[in-house]
């Protein structure tokens, strides 16, 4: 086997990974997400048994370039199409969808899905010809576009708590200091108002493995 060069993205790439709803097959996505991460992208992994709504909401809030899913339990055509539709409906058609499911997804279904607008479904034969890194490289190349650019009045709609706007603003802060400098001033103006200045921030820290996430989950549940 020839060693495949790792593709180095020019932009900060963020990707949501998960396994489909009612689907516990997480071995493949676990390997993939590690390679994606090792290739320099930021991965938000949601684990197995994830509904389309869960994944789409997360993708929007995290302002990712792409979603990478596996589906081994059938129903993939409906699943991926619904994901595509829902992203569009929420105004985030720019988020690309990648998928895989071994031999479960038939070649004609792959074609059907890609024609529908799914960026790519990788087949076992792709795996053999491209290698794992080859598939990840292909995906990262397609995702190598910036986020948090070309802001367009997101600040003004902030109070509507539109997740897409919030997400874009945070990305702008992270990736695009030029534009954010102006926006920052506007935001500070808002945060100086009395009702906003008192929004409390609870900081949580602690040793790894102390169960912080479970604890936060329980706090949020009670809140």
């Amino acid at each position: 086997m020839n060693k495949i060069e790792v593709y180095h993205p020019k932009n900060k790439i963020r990707i949501v990974t998960a396994a489909s709803l009612f689907d516990g097959h997480d071995a493949a996505i676990n390997i993939m997400r590690r390679i994606i991460q090792a290739s320099g992208a930021e991965v938000i992994h949601l684990g197995h048994d994830r509904s389309v709504l869960d994944v789409v909401d997360c993708a929007i809030q995290e302002d990712v370039q792409a979603i990478a899913m596996t589906s081994y339990q059938g129903g993939h055509v409906e699943y991926f199409k619904y994901m595509h539709d829902l992203l569009k409906e929420k105004g985030c058609g720019h988020i690309k969808i990648f998928g895989g499911g071994g031999g479960v997804i038939l070649p004609e279904e792959i074609k059907e899905l890609q024609d529908y607008g799914i960026a790519r479904i990788y087949s076992p034969d792709d795996g053999r010809s491209m290698g794992l890194q080859g598939m990840i490289n292909d995906m990262l190349q397609q995702c190598d576009f910036p986020t948090g650019m070309n802001m367009n009045g997101e600040v003004d709609s902030l109070t509507k708590k539109n997740p897409k706007a919030i997400a874009k603003l945070i990305s702008c802060a992270e990736n695009n200091e030029n534009e954010f400098a102006e926006i920052r001033k506007k935001i500070h103006k808002i945060t100086e108002t009395k009702s906003i200045a008192t929004v409390p921030v609870l900081g949580i820290t602690g040793t790894g493995g102390a169960g912080k996430s479970s604890l936060v989950d329980e706090l949020v549940r009670r809140f």
Binding site: D49, Q73, E78, Y79, I170, G203
Partner: protein, 875 residues
């Protein structure tokens, strides 16, 4: 996180984009954006990479530090900066050892750091919490304290109506802390027994030597032979003191024991019935092939050791099998089906069991059912209805699924591959079986017309129609079970009659429900409830089985299959599965159940791959189980017998050269049959690429039938006994399993090891090893990585794929809607009762049996999520 799927919550992760940092440098901007969006509360969590996360102080109004009791000595606390800075401390995982001491020490340190000498201990903002536990009192107190302090510090007015009780977080233990060494106690027992066998063997061998010397001397012409004989006799008596009386009897009885297998008939008792078995079959060459062949040992040491570690089938430690002979009328063939709606699967069941005297039905459920949900139009659910398994969401589905099979007949047994919602599906199954018997009663007593009129009246009142089986009945389906669709026996029969039928049916119904939640968390991921809640449900079912004398239904099938499918090697498969099994034993014992009442309801399920260790997996499993049951748990003979189902390995089926798959399956089936498995499923060769077709399933069944009926050597029932390699492998695998038991003990037993995902990690590591060797060709796979055809053995693409039709899906959804309307009046009351029982720790299965009559799967799981704590993924 389960709680964030809520429009009120926005969650964002920020990569640090730089090493050694706990927080991204864009935190301030991000927090400002969220503030500007006017959220009520912002929670900022660090990645927890170091102890000095004090940076977080710059960005927050209130700081919470989360730690565990496992920080080492109290002096270590002085090094934790956050104890200086944090406003509130959570001592999470409060169930860990030394938690109370830790709470005391952390409070002391907090006092010192914050100069709070006057504050009483109970007012300090340090809380013991178990976040993983449902409705944890410590979590409640922590939450309330955070809200109060935020109000105070930021001058806001958040309202909390949480009732706070003074109680501490207290772990509800599955396995009592004093019992966590159970696995090592078993390995000690097994090793002690092995040593004892060797010691006793050498005593017996010595005695044999002396006896033989005496005999030889008697025949000799030595002058002083009388003196020598006398001395040897004395020595014999002295050595004989070291031989256990039972072992002496084994040696004395040996010739007679062997003779019983050489007589024409062997007679033995099962549940007080005499069973007479012909001891041989005759080949075409008129050779008598013994069913059980016997060793030719003469030396007592050999005889004794063989009896103690091997023995004949049906005798302790059951290495060669749990029954003296195989049942002649019943092949261990299971008929597997599951696709589309219940009608389609019912037709397949009748097709595959046609002409078979025993109906052993094995059911695969679709993933919607496996995750405890109802069919729905939502596309991500819709696409999965009836795919890779049958869609079952209510009692009527179960009735149709098994219609035409008498579930109370001793020749019918049903296995159901379901875990998360196993107890609910069992409720449907049991009710379906009861209603079938009600139906039989109705027909036999000439009540058909009266009952039909009653049913008509019921539906007339409700304004709906009685559900019916969709399409024509298949050949062989008598329609039994369909009369009472939409109603239950108690609605049409007098209460006492119904009760009598119910009691009787429960006592005779035969089958298995997988229900093994531990391996789900370790390998397969179809958990829907938290592990604790799932275990409790399993215990409730088992308790119900004991109370109602459900004897022929296995309440759990402790499964290694999925562990092996996820990539574990055979030793790990066996070790993890047995360790899970013993965990159920310990849990049921801790609930006060009698081992002899529940152990016979446990069954096992393994995968047989192609590795050498699979030749002995049943032998080792039976042996370890029997020894642990007899010597450690003092259980009776029935409990000592480990019974298991084998399915040939799905992972060893390849999508290239799929015709070769049947060859692999045949070899694996041969391992299984030679090893005396109690039931067997052979995979179809096309399963790697699609749902098996009728043709491929028939071929898979032919594999078993050819071995069982045609293969001459398989007429013998202990063909592997006496083989050097089989004995050596048995010893090697047994010891390897014992070592794994010790490793799990070091991690706090099975549940402790699961917390750190030990089992999962091990399985993944072994999977990677196999994939690597397969990839680089070191592990040869014919037609996959070597011996490729001239075309390079490409991946085979299936011609047709069986998928559920939209007609089937639509029917399932509409039928469900009607069911919901039909029983809308009962829903709230039943669900409330169920939730109440959950909270009050009553037996939930009693209520589930009742709820199963009227409610759908999704309604029941939804109600239980509210009181049981949903499963939370570990990553």
């Amino acid at each position: 996180m389960n709680s964030i799927s809520n429009p009120r919550v926005y969650m964002r992760s920020l990569a640090t984009r730089q090493s050694n940092l706990a927080l991204s440098k864009y935190v301030k901007d991000a927090v400002d954006v969220l503030k500007a969006a006017a959220y009520d509360l912002i929670i900022l969590e660090t990645s927890g990479i170091g102890q000095s996360d004090t940076e977080i102080m710059d960005h927050s109004d209130l700081a919470l530090y989360v730690m565990t009791p496992e920080y080492g000595a109290a002096t270590q606390l002085e090094k934790i900066d956050m104890l200086d800075f944090a406003d509130v401390i959570a001592l999470n995982k409060f169930d860990k050892r030394g938690a109370l001491d830790a709470l005391r020490d952390v409070k002391k340190q907090f006092k010192r750091n914050h100069q709070l000498w006057e504050t009483p201990d109970e007012d300090l903002p340090v809380f013991g919490t178990i976040a993983s536990q449902f409705n944890d009192p410590g979590m409640n107190r922590l939450y309330r304290s955070i809200i109060d302090r935020l109000n105070e510090k930021v001058k806001i007015d958040l309202q909390s109506h949480f009732e706070i009780t003074g109680e501490m977080s207290e772990k509800i233990y599955i396995i009592p802390p004093a019992r966590t060494r159970y696995l090592s106690e078993i390995s000690e027992t097994v090793r002690k027994y092995a040593q004892w066998t060797i010691d006793q063997g050498s005593v017996a061998q010595k005695l044999f030597g002396i006896r033989k010397s005496i005999d030889a001397l008697k025949e000799s012409k030595f002058e002083d032979k009388d003196r020598m004989i006398k001395q040897l006799e004395e020595f014999y008596l002295q050595v004989a003191l070291d031989l256990d009386g039972k072992n002496r009897k084994i040696i004395e009885d040996w010739p007679g024991k062997v003779q019983r297998y050489k007589d024409e008939f062997y007679v033995y008792q099962v549940r007080d019935k005499d069973i007479k078995v012909k001891t041989y079959t005759e080949s075409l060459s008129h050779t008598h092939i013994p069913k059980v062949s016997t060793p030719k040992f003469e030396a007592w040491g050999e005889i004794l050791k063989w009896n103690l570690q091997e023995n004949f089938p049906g005798e302790f430690p059951y290495t060669a099998g749990v029954y003296p002979f195989k049942r002649s009328e019943e092949d261990p063939t299971r008929m597997f089906a599951g696709e589309g709606g219940p009608e389609r699967t019912n037709r397949r069941f009748h097709y595959v069991s046609k002409g078979m005297p025993a109906k052993r039905l094995s059911t695969a459920f679709d993933s919607v059912t496996l995750y405890g949900q109802d069919p729905d139009y939502r596309p991500d659910i819709y696409g999965k209805i009836g795919n890779s398994g049958v869609s079952i969401c209510c009692l009527d589905d179960a009735k149709k699924l098994y219609s035409g099979f008498d579930l109370a007949d001793t020749k019918t047994s049903v296995s159901m591959t379901i875990n998360g919602p196993a107890s609910i599906i069992t409720g449907y199954f049991m009710n379906a079986a009861i209603d079938q018997q009600c139906e039989k009663y109705i027909t036999e007593h000439g009540l058909t017309d009266t009952v039909k009129a009653k049913i008509e009246e019921i539906f007339k009142v409700k304004g709906t129609k009685q559900p019916v089986y969709q399409g024509p009945l298949p050949e062989g389906n008598t329609g039994l079970g369909l009369m009472l669709l939409g109603v239950t026996g108690d609605q049409v029969l007098p209460a006492d009659v119904y009760q009598k039928i119910k009691t009787h049916t429960l006592q005779v119904v035969r089958g298995t429900v997988q229900a093994d939640i531990l391996k789900e968390d370790q390998a397969q991921n179809t958990c829907i409830f938290s592990t604790e809640f799932s275990l409790r449900l399993m215990g409730d079912v088992q308790q119900y089985f004991i109370d109602k004398k459900v004897r022929n239904f296995y309440s759990v099938s402790i499964s290694g299959y999925h562990i092996a499918e996820a990539g574990a090697n055979p030793i790990t498969q066996l070790a993890l599965t047995l360790s899970n099994g013993f965990t159920y034993v310990e849990y049921y014992l801790s609930r006060g159940m009698d081992i002899n009442k529940f152990a016979p309801n446990l069954s096992f399920f393994f995968s047989n791959g192609i590795d050498p260790e699979y030749a002995v997996i049943g032998r080792v499993a039976r042996k370890i189980w029997a020894k642990a049951m007899k010597l450690k748990y003092n259980a009776d003979e029935r409990s000592q017998m480990l019974k298991y189902h084998i399915q040939t390995s799905g992972r060893s089926l390849h999508a290239q050269e799929i015709d070769f798959n049947d060859i692999r399956t045949t070899l694996q089936a041969l391992y299984a049959i030679y090893d005396n498995c109690n039931s067997l499923h052979t995979n179809a060769y096309d399963e790697a690429i699609t749902t098996p077709t009728e043709e491929s399933v028939r071929r898979a069944m032919a594999i078993q039938l050819i071995i069982n009926r045609e293969l001459g050597l398989a007429k013998n029932e202990n063909p592997t006994q006496g083989s050097f390699i089989i004995e050596e492998l048995t010893d090697l695998v047994e010891e390897a399993v014992m070592l794994e038991f010790d490793r799990i003990t070091e991690r706090g037993g099975v549940l402790g090891a699961m917390e750190t995902m030990y089992q999962r990690g091990k399985i993944q590591e072994e999977s990677l090893y196999y994939e690597t060797l397969k990839h680089n060709g070191e592990f040869p796979i014919i037609g996959v990585n070597t011996f490729l055809s001239s075309k390079g053995s490409p991946t085979v693409v299936p011609r047709e794929v069986i998928r559920a039709t939209s007609e089937e899906k639509e029917y399932q959804i509409n039928m469900l809607k009607e069911l919901h309307t039909l029983h809308a009046d009962k829903k709230d009351e039943l669900l409330h009762k169920l939730q109440l029982s959950a909270v009050q720790n009553k037996n939930l299965f009693e209520d589930l049996m009742e709820a199963a009559k009227y409610l759908s799967l999704g309604q029941i799981t939804g109600a239980l999520f509210e009181v049981g704590g949903q499963y939370r993924r570990n990553m």
